[in-house]
Amino acid sequence: MSNEKGMSLIVKTVTRLTFGLIIIYGIYIVLRGHISPGGGFAGGVIITLSFILLMLAFGKDNVLKKLNQSRCLTFSSLGALIFLFIATAGFINKQKAVGGKEHFAIFGAGLIPLCDIAVSVMVGTGLFLMFFALVLLVEEKEGK
C-alpha cells in the first residue's frame, strides 16, 4: 500500500464523490437516533469510516491537513467531557432529565440528541485517532 501517493485514479474519483454522502449519512443517523434506528455510536463510527476511506485513498498527508492528531485528541476529550457533564447533571439537579413535549421532532426529546452528538463526536475522533496510531506504527516499522 503506497502511503504517500494514494491509490489509482478510479479510487480517488469514487472517494471524492462518496465522501460527502457518507459523512452526511453519519450525521443523519446521529441526529435521528431517537426516532429511527441508529444512535450516537453507529453514527460516530460511520464518520470515522469516511475519514479512514479518505486516508486509504488519498494517502496520509491530505487527511492530516483536515484532522490533526492533537486536534483529534482535543475533540475526543471534549465529547467525553460533555457527555460526563450531561450524565452527572442529574445528581446536582435532583430531578429526572426533562422530556420534550412534541414527539417525533428532531429536537423534541430533551437531552437525548445532545447525548447522541457528544457520544458521536467522542467516538468518531477517538477511533480515527486509534486507527491513525496503528497506521503510523506500521509505517515506522516499514521504514526502519
Partner: protein
C-alpha cells in the same frame, strides 16, 4: 445452535497457537453471546421497539437485552482494539505471532 457457535470460538481460543487466531476466537465467542441474549428477548410475531406515529402497538420484542447488547458491542470493540495493538507490539518485539516461541524467548 448458538451453543455450537460458542463451542467453536472456545475451541479456537484454547487450541490455536497464533495470536490473531485467538483474537478471531474471542470475536466469535462475543458474537455467540450477543446472539444468545437477543434470542432470549425475542417474542414471536413481535414488532421492533420503535413507537410509530398515531398508533398503539403492544406486542414489541424485549428492548432491554437490545440496550445491553448495544453496550456489549462497544466494549467488545474496545477490547479487540487493545488486543490488536498488543499483538502488534509483540510481533515487533519477537518477530512472530506464535505464543509458544514467545514463552521460550521470555524465560
Amino acid at each position: 445452535m448458538c451453543f455450537v457457535l460458542f463451542s467453536i470460538g472456545l475451541y479456537c481460543i484454547l487450541r490455536k497457537r497464533n495470536i490473531i487466531k485467538i483474537i478471531i476466537g474471542i470475536v466469535i465467542v462475543e458474537y455467540a453471546l450477543n446472539l444468545f441474549l437477543i434470542l432470549i428477548g425475542y417474542r414471536i410475531h413481535g414488532r421492533a421497539p420503535i413507537v410509530a406515529q398515531d398508533q398503539e402497538i403492544l406486542n414489541m420484542v424485549d428492548p432491554l437485552p437490545q440496550a445491553m447488547v448495544s453496550t456489549s458491542i462497544v466494549i467488545g470493540l474496545a477490547i479487540i482494539v487493545v488486543l490488536i495493538s498488543l499483538a502488534i507490539r509483540i510481533y515487533e518485539k519477537y518477530g512472530t505471532f506464535d505464543i509458544t516461541k514467545i514463552r521460550r524467548l521470555k524465560g
